[in-house]
């Protein structure tokens, strides 16, 4: 059960400073000033950049103004369906405290690289798929299938309107073990390798074979191979202590999609 409301609040309120600039090849006339914006770590770029789009539309050629919008960081196209905090933690150098510099594009959408999320319906559909998948891992899908459409809507609206209480009123049911179980069956987690967008999928139980609650130290052992040792985990911009319990992490440090998104640091042996 996600008891620690303080932690939930802190995670919810995490923000990133972004500095947006236009694509030089798309500008017509005067060059626009950059646009600065604080965005929630937990949301998705297409949901929080309406203002950015409106601001830059005036400066770009008419034929591009209805194009599918996308963003890049240092030439790397940003996955629109990854939470902003995940993108930031994977790409932005830790030591760098300046706003994250992104370029907005209105044309030449990289069709072979990025999943297109150019409508709220598509993002909502993706979000609901993530929730279903997470629930299948935690509860065999039993909790989410017992919810009504209005509960699903409340989660989505809570997320897009930044309403913590509205969101958690429903999400707490997804964060409880099912029935008389002590913990989740498996933990929904994306383990990112080597600071790129790819991740490992593995069934991770929160309980070890000996029946003990697993900690990150146990998870490190699980992920290590003779060639490569897992030495640390990071999420929401925080380095995690190896004694942190995996079940607790799933309940408190998951993104609204109900997944833990962990960057794993490896050391070659």
């Amino acid at each position: 059960m996600a008891h620690d409301r303080e932690v939930l609040r802190m995670i919810w309120e995490g923000q990133i400073g972004i500095c947006f600039q236009a694509d030089r090849d798309e500008i017509v006339g005067i060059k626009p000033e950059p646009f600065y914006l604080m965005v929630s770590r937990l949301s998705y770029l297409p949901l929080v950049t309406d203002k950015v789009r409106k601001y830059f539309t005036r400066y770009i050629a008419a034929e591009h103004q209805d194009g599918a919008v996308w963003f890049d960081y240092n030439g790397i196209p940003l996955r629109l369906h990854y939470p902003t905090g995940v993108l930031y933690d994977l790409l932005h150098p830790e030591e760098d405290c300046t706003p994250w510099g992104l370029t907005i594009h209105f044309s030449k959408f990289p069709e072979e690289t990025l999943v297109k999320m150019n409508s709220k319906e598509l993002l909502e559909s993706h979000y609901m798929s993530c929730l279903k998948e997470a629930d299948v891992l935690k509860h065999r899908g039993l909790v989410i299938s017992a919810m009504q459409k209005k509960d699903h809507n409340q989660l989505w609206l809570g997320l897009i309107n930044d309403k913590f209480d509205q969101f958690w009123a429903v999400n707490r049911r997804l964060m409880e073990p099912y029935g008389d179980q002590e913990s989740f069956k498996n933990i929904p987690v994306r383990l990112y390798n080597d600071d790129d967008f790819t991740y490992t999928q593995k069934l991770i139980s929160p309980i070890s074979e000996s029946g003990q609650k697993k900690s990150l130290a146990d998870l490190m052992a699980e992920l290590s191979t003779p060639e490569r040792k897992a030495v640390g985990f990071r999420t929401h911009g925080i380095d995690l202590h190896e004694e942190t319990q995996v079940q607790w992490m799933s309940e408190h440090l998951s993104y609204p999609d109900n997944f833990l998104h962990l960057s794993v640091d490896y050391k070659d042996v």
Partner: protein, 169 residues
């Protein structure tokens, strides 16, 4: 019963491939590396289609992947369609070509673009939420459930298996 382990998927995919090789119909097994779920079945063919009621018939190339879902523990069907000029069919174009009679509000729950879990590129995917149920209903316990899966889901996206796969109709 409805859960398929990675080992099950791999052995059934290899069994399926043996039949395919005898038939010479072109399925291959693609292995990215030895980790779960990085080996999947692949098949391509060209189909004639009309992207909208007023347009000409054109040939598009469709590539299908049968990939194991670690979370759902069932196979999943992914595909990509390209025009002869190399351009990728986006979501709306794919819906028009492959599922012209389904309402878009339903399509959001059935067929959407997602990231391929092995290749990390955009692919169209049939949603897996009901696959376990469906396979339970239609498959026999001893049958090759990868084969059953392809025969049940493939036709919805213009992928038909030859009768010679031994499926009773």
């Amino acid at each position: 019963m409805s859960e398929m382990t990675w080992k099950d998927f791999l052995s059934q995919a290899q069994e399926f491939l043996k039949i395919s090789e005898q038939l010479g119909d072109g399925w291959v097994l693609h292995e990215k590396d030895a980790n779960e779920p990085n080996t999947f079945l692949k098949y391509s063919h060209k189909i004639k289609c009309q992207e909208s009621k007023d347009s000409d018939f054109t040939l598009i190339n469709v590539e299908y992947h049968i990939v194991y879902s670690v979370s759902y523990q069932v196979p999943m069907l992914f595909f990509q369609a390209h025009r002869s000029d190399g351009s990728l069919l986006d979501l709306e174009a794919t819906w028009r070509v492959f599922m012209p009679d389904t309402a878009s509000k339903d399509l959001y729950q059935m067929l959407t673009q997602t990231e391929h879990p092995v290749l990390f590129r955009p692919f169209m995917a049939l949603h897996p939420c009901r696959t376990a149920e469906v396979l339970d209903q239609f498959g026999q316990p001893s049958a090759n459930r990868v084969l059953t899966f392809i025969s049940l889901y493939g036709p919805h996206v213009k992928l038909q298996l030859a009768n010679a796969y031994g499926l009773s109709k």
